[in-house]
């Protein structure tokens, strides 16, 4: 395909005469560290602030309230944050385009209501009800996406209207505010049951091996073609980190955390953890490795450039809203499972704001073009740690909200500043 440049020697332009400077630099760990510092200086902070914040907060709370580090609280933290993290993952797709979805919280409420009503009032099997809830999410996303991408109404307005509208839909579905309880054991298991300890270890081992093999294969392929590959040392460090952190988490979660072992035993990795893990893998794969994901970044970076490159901008926009609402549906299902019921407040009050906050605190830009699915997880954990830790310290909800709001503002400020920084070059 590159023949246009070298019609005289079409075999392979300039290949054998590579001079020293043409050869790809085989980067050492030092180079990689330096490149990362360059990035940070250029305003590309990545996951750094969220991870640092998470560590600081955890140390802070465990010093002040040792119960923060207890096995029970650790597991609680994960199940508490899961629903909001799922919604935040969906918001990442929309935020990447520089759009916003204010209705994601109540969309999750509508989907949860559909799930509960079908399960409890109509006796549907769990898979049928889950499929219906997901379909509801997809239809909601299609509607919003079409209004934004085809009709051209700003997403802020469309989703603000939907925010109000869905609040009403939940009330209508739940017959003016009755509480529909969920009794299906499979749905309840999602947020309330745990994997057996052995399964936890097996899953971790599978993830670690899979991660290492994929990374190694990719690096081999690149080195084999004479491109700069990731050095093996860094791969080892990364895999080691996965094993150590994951291992510590699985070990802690596999400890007995029941207050009364005779009544019931409570140990193992909560089932929501692999659920969120699977969504994280799927979302990351979509954004980082597929053409569709690349086009989402492209539209978020410059819609005009994407259009001239022949990308269908309207399709990309609509799909992002569909993905967002589908993940909101997942968040709604998790919330229904955790609450054992659905009421008009499911997906309401602060759910949306915490989800947007999670994505932004994790490092996803509000201006579009920058962000990853893992941001939602990291940011969601930061938010959960703040809420949980301050709760343990006995602060009122008012103080918790004020602090979470301030953290969101700081994160948005960092985002705005790093954007200015990279625009100055």
């Amino acid at each position: 395909m590159t023949s246009a440049l070298a019609p005289q020697k079409p075999e392979r332009p300039n290949r054998p005469t590579d001079s020293e400077e043409d050869r790809p630099p085989t980067a050492g760990l030092g180079d990689i560290g330096r490149r990362y510092l360059d990035q940070v200086r250029a305003g590309e902070l990545g996951a750094l602030p969220a991870v640092a914040g998470l560590v600081v907060l955890c140390v802070f709370f465990s010093l002040l309230r040792p119960v923060f580090l207890s096995n029970l609280n650790f597991a609680n933290l994960l199940t508490q944050s899961a629903g909001s993290i799922a919604i935040a993952m969906g918001l990442v797709f929309v935020l990447l385009l520089g759009e916003i979805d204010l209705s994601a919280g109540y969309a999750s409420g509508v989907c949860a209501a559909v799930l509960a009503i079908l399960l409890t009032n109509h006796g549907w099997p769990w898979y049928g009800a889950v499929a219906a809830a997901m379909l509801t999410g997809a239809v909601i996303g299609l509607l919003i996406g079409t209004l934004v991408a085809k009709v051209g109404i700003p997403s802020f307005v469309v989703t603000l209207a939907a925010f109000l509208g869905f609040q009403g839909v939940v009330l209508i579905l739940l017959k003016e505010g009755t509480n529909v309880s969920v009794k299906d054991p499979t749905i309840l298991a999602i947020a309330n049951d745990n994997l057996s300890p052995v399964l936890g270890w097996v899953l971790l081992a599978g993830c670690a091996v899979g991660y290492a093999v994929l990374q190694l294969r990719r690096s081999r392929d690149r080195l084999g073609r004479g491109l700069a590959g990731t050095p093996v040392a860094l791969l080892a460090v990364r895999t080691g980190a996965v094993v150590v952190l994951g291992g510590a988490a699985v070990y802690l979660l596999n400890q007995e955390r029941s207050r009364n072992v005779i009544v019931s035993s409570l140990k193992g990795v909560p089932i929501v953890v692999p659920v969120i893990g699977a969504l994280l893998l799927l979302g990351t794969f979509t954004l980082q490795r597929t053409g569709f994901g690349l086009h989402i970044y492209a539209v978020g970076g410059s819609a005009e450039a994407a259009r001239r490159a022949g990308i269908s901008v309207a399709f990309i926009r609509t799909s992002a809203f569909v993905i967002c609402s589908c993940l909101a549906a997942v968040g709604g299902i998790i919330a229904a499972s955790r609450g054992n019921s659905v009421d008009p407040n499911t997906g309401g009050s602060n759910v949306l704001l915490l989800a947007v906050g999670s994505a932004v605190i994790g490092g996803t830009s509000l201006f579009g073009g920058r962000g990853r699915v893992v941001d939602a997880v990291l940011g969601g954990l930061v938010v959960a740690v703040i809420q949980n830790g301050m709760g343990l310290m006995g602060y009122s909800s008012g103080v918790k909200y004020a602090v979470t709001g301030s953290v969101l503002l700081v994160a948005a400020g960092v985002d705005a500043m790093s954007r200015r920084r990279s625009a100055q070059r």
Partner: protein, 259 residues
């Protein structure tokens, strides 16, 4: 010239609503040559380029490519013919890296997954073919590049494909002296490699430095298309500002009969 031009436009009209921007334009571009397209601000150069690139549909006239009449309705149609355009405003995504920008919309895939390694290899080979050595890493974000480097990426993007015609809209407008020289050298090399090149520029020195032919637009009409070796700076400037110069340009007939 006896050979068929790569691009030949005849009688192109283009209006935006009630405003006619292009009147009866004729333009040809030959393989192995740089054709400079000059004209004052608002003469219609960028509009003509967008018609060539399929961004704007033409109202009337013939679009011939390699001697065959073709219809170009979208950027994809133009790309399929082998027409690549480097727009005045570059149209790069700042948040993507060099390779991703060069392949945007035409990514290489292996099944479902992007084939990053192959794309990086091809991008590296193309940049090497253009003797570009100023970029540190192909995995650099475009936002971290200088103006000249961005221009280089945009040009490399255009020649990455089996293109036959490359149109550059004011590629040196925002560049310093050294970088302008580099880009002009690059433009010349494209033509020497057998491509037809159309270069838009306001700088007469640049135009005379690299072009074989000069086409001057005046108020949406083609004043003249001449060989660069047969005219002087002053004549071209006159064509640009008044639409005619001595024997060149349409005779002063109100009904527009050209020489």
């Amino acid at each position: 010239m006896t050979e068929t031009p790569t691009l030949e436009l005849r009688g192109i009209d283009k209006s935006f609503g009630p405003v006619q921007v292009l009147h009866d334009i004729a333009l040809s571009a030959h393989a192995g040559e740089v054709t400079a397209l000059v004209g004052d601000n608002g003469a219609g150069k960028s509009t003509l380029v967008k018609c060539i690139g399929g961004i704007h549909p033409i109202d009337a006239g013939d679009y011939l490519f390699d001697g065959r009449p073709v219809h170009v309705h979208s950027p994809r149609d133009a790309a399929a013919l082998g027409v690549e355009i480097v727009y005045q405003d570059l149209a790069l995504c700042d948040n993507l890296d060099i390779v991703q920008n060069m392949f945007l919309g035409r990514e290489k895939r292996r099944g479902l997954v992007l084939d990053d390694s192959t794309m990086e290899e091809m991008a590296a080979a193309t940049l090497r073919g253009l003797s570009v050595r100023t970029v540190k890493s192909l995995r650099q974000k475009v936002s971290s590049l200088s103006g000249g480097q961005r221009q280089t990426v945009a040009i490399a993007k255009a020649v990455l494909w089996n293109s036959k015609l490359v149109v550059l809209d004011e590629p040196t407008a925002a560049l310093g002296v050294a970088q302008t020289a580099q880009v002009l050298e690059l433009v010349r090399r494209l033509a020497d490699n057998g491509l037809a090149v159309v270069l838009i520029s306001h700088n007469m020195n640049d135009v005379f430095a690299v072009s074989d032919r000069i086409a001057a637009l005046h108020l949406g009409r083609m004043a003249a298309q001449v060989k660069a070796s047969e005219v002087t700076h002053a004549q071209v400037v006159e064509l640009i500002t008044s639409g005619r110069s001595g024997d060149l340009g349409p005779r002063t007939t109100p009904n527009g009969a050209a020489v």
